[in-house]
């Protein structure tokens, strides 16, 4: 364990990067999930087809492939654009942080699309009819009736999506983001103690997973508080 001593601060900053990525990607995931679910539930055939294509592609291909495609694909495109203005430019890349969060958010967002779609369908039609009878606008119905009723249903599967999300952040080390796994690789190169370093990374991720699991349990309790039998 002595080998880790010089690396604590690097692992700390690496963990912080994981947390940052997690929250950025989480916001994007919810966004993509809601847009996807909206498109799947809409009456427009075009929107349905696009959303189906989205979920089929992102749920059926390996995460690492999407990540590498985003990173190298955007780098090729950006380099080509930069060369139009300045032919001297050799290589421009999209920051791994953003390429990574976007790729992961699109992947988990495709799972969230299905979850949200199911949850919206699970909202009792009577509640929406009641809102309509009270003359509440469609947007207000969405914000005050549909979403609060839906998130209670979506929470358990969405908790699993959050766990996949935090675990997928490890992949971003492959494109050079300095998160924990990347730190461990560097630490291994100087200390020659790969087992110690990678076990530490595993422990850090296990800690994050535990926090998420406990938070989701607390949120579920909060969301279902009106269903608890009064005591």
């Amino acid at each position: 364990m002595g080998a880790i001593s010089g690396w604590w601060d690097d692992f700390f900053w690496g963990s912080l990067v994981v947390v940052e990525i997690f929250f950025v990607a989480l916001i994007l995931t919810v966004l993509f999930g809601l847009i996807g679910a909206g498109a799947k539930l809409s009456k427009s055939r075009v929107a349905n087809a696009i959303a189906s294509g989205y979920t089929i592609v992102f749920r059926g291909t390996p995460e690492i492939l999407v990540l590498l495609l985003f990173y190298f694909g955007s780098a090729v495109a950006l380099t080509a654009i930069a060369q139009v203005f300045d032919p001297e430019v050799k290589f421009v890349d999209f920051p791994p942080f953003w390429a990574g969060s976007l790729a992961i958010a699109l992947i988990i967002g495709s799972y969230a699309t299905e979850t949200f779609r199911g949850a919206f369908l699970g909202v009792e039609p009577g509640q929406i009819e009641a809102a309509r009878a009270l003359g509440i606008s469609n947007l207000q119905t969405f914000i005050y009736v549909r979403v609060p009723a839906m998130w209670r249903l979506a929470l358990p599967p969405f908790g699993n999506h959050m766990l996949s999300l935090i675990k997928d952040t490890a992949l971003i080390a492959i494109i050079g983001l300095e998160e924990t796994l990347f730190v461990a690789e560097q630490a291994t190169a100087t200390t020659g103690k790969p087992f110690t370093m990678f076990i530490l990374v595993g422990a850090i991720y296990l800690g994050f997973s535990t926090i998420i699991t406990l938070s989701v349990m607390a949120l579920e309790k909060y969301a279902n508080r009106h269903l608890a039998v009064g005591r």
């Binding site: 059926g60 492939l65 694909g73 675990k167 790969p194 990678f198 595993g202």
Partner: protein, 232 residues
């Protein structure tokens, strides 16, 4: 701006497909080993003895709570650090990236699948088991003839999703130098620097494999629930 290079795609697809054998080997070997492990874990978990169930729960918790990539790295890069591993009889397997990938994927998928199986077993109607007990079947007989067939049908949809995610995880073997489809694709991209052409072609191949897996399980599911549909 360069346009999509069709000739490159046509040249690369046969090369990428040379890796499909390795992808399938990784998938089928770790699926078989992982499913066997899952059954063992399930039996320990539902044994009703805490000293058997508790270690199983810890195992599942650890393997489901950490990224598969980290597990692969611990096994491939990490284990050789330990003296007793290098002297053990498993060293010939653990020295090779292929063996490490199989072990990591099996251990990982075993944890997920055993939870799926547990869900299936818990979903079996109590009344059926009680009926079995009333007919004088032993615990083992009830598990084999009543619980298992129903549980298998119940957990097929979740199991097929797990097979798909295992298939997707096999692409991570490319991070430990294996040349599966993903590994070959990454090599070609490094040579030609044409990520769109190559990665999109591999993507299509992976999508086809996913589709085949889903259709196969859909077909099995349909066959297994014939008796339910005919009643309706």
């Amino acid at each position: 701006m360069r346009f999509i290079d069709v000739a490159l795609i046509i040249d690369s697809i046969p090369r990428i497909l040379m890796g499909i054998g390795l992808t399938f080997q990784l998938l089928f070997l770790s699926l078989t080993l992982g499913t066997a492990l899952a059954i063992i874990l399930l039996l320990l978990r539902i044994s009703g003895r805490w000293y058997l169930a508790a270690p199983t729960m810890v195992y599942i918790y650890i393997f489901r709570g950490t990224p598969i990539l980290v597990q692969i790295f611990i096994i491939y890069y990490g284990l050789p650090q330990l003296e007793f591993i290098r002297e053990s009889i498993f060293w010939p397997i653990l020295r090779e990236p292929f063996g490490c990938a199989i072990i990591a994927l099996s251990l990982n998928t075993g944890a997920y699948v055993s939870e799926i199986f547990r869900g299936g077993v818990l979903g079996v109607d109590r009344g059926l088991k009680e009926a079995g007990a009333a007919l004088g079947l032993s615990v083992t007989q009830r598990f084999i003839y009543i619980t298992s067939p129903i549980a298998i049908r119940l957990c097929l949809p979740a199991y097929s999703n797990d097979v798909v995610s295992l298939m997707k995880s096999t692409a991570l073997a490319s991070t430990i130098t294996l040349l599966d489809m993903m590994g070959i694709a990454r090599t070609i991209v490094a040579e030609t620097y044409a990520p769109y052409e190559i990665f999109l072609s591999v993507m299509v191949i992976y999508l086809i494999i996913t589709w085949v897996i889903q259709r196969t399980f859909g077909w099995i599911e349909k066959r297994m629930s014939q008796h339910i549909r005919s009643e309706a």
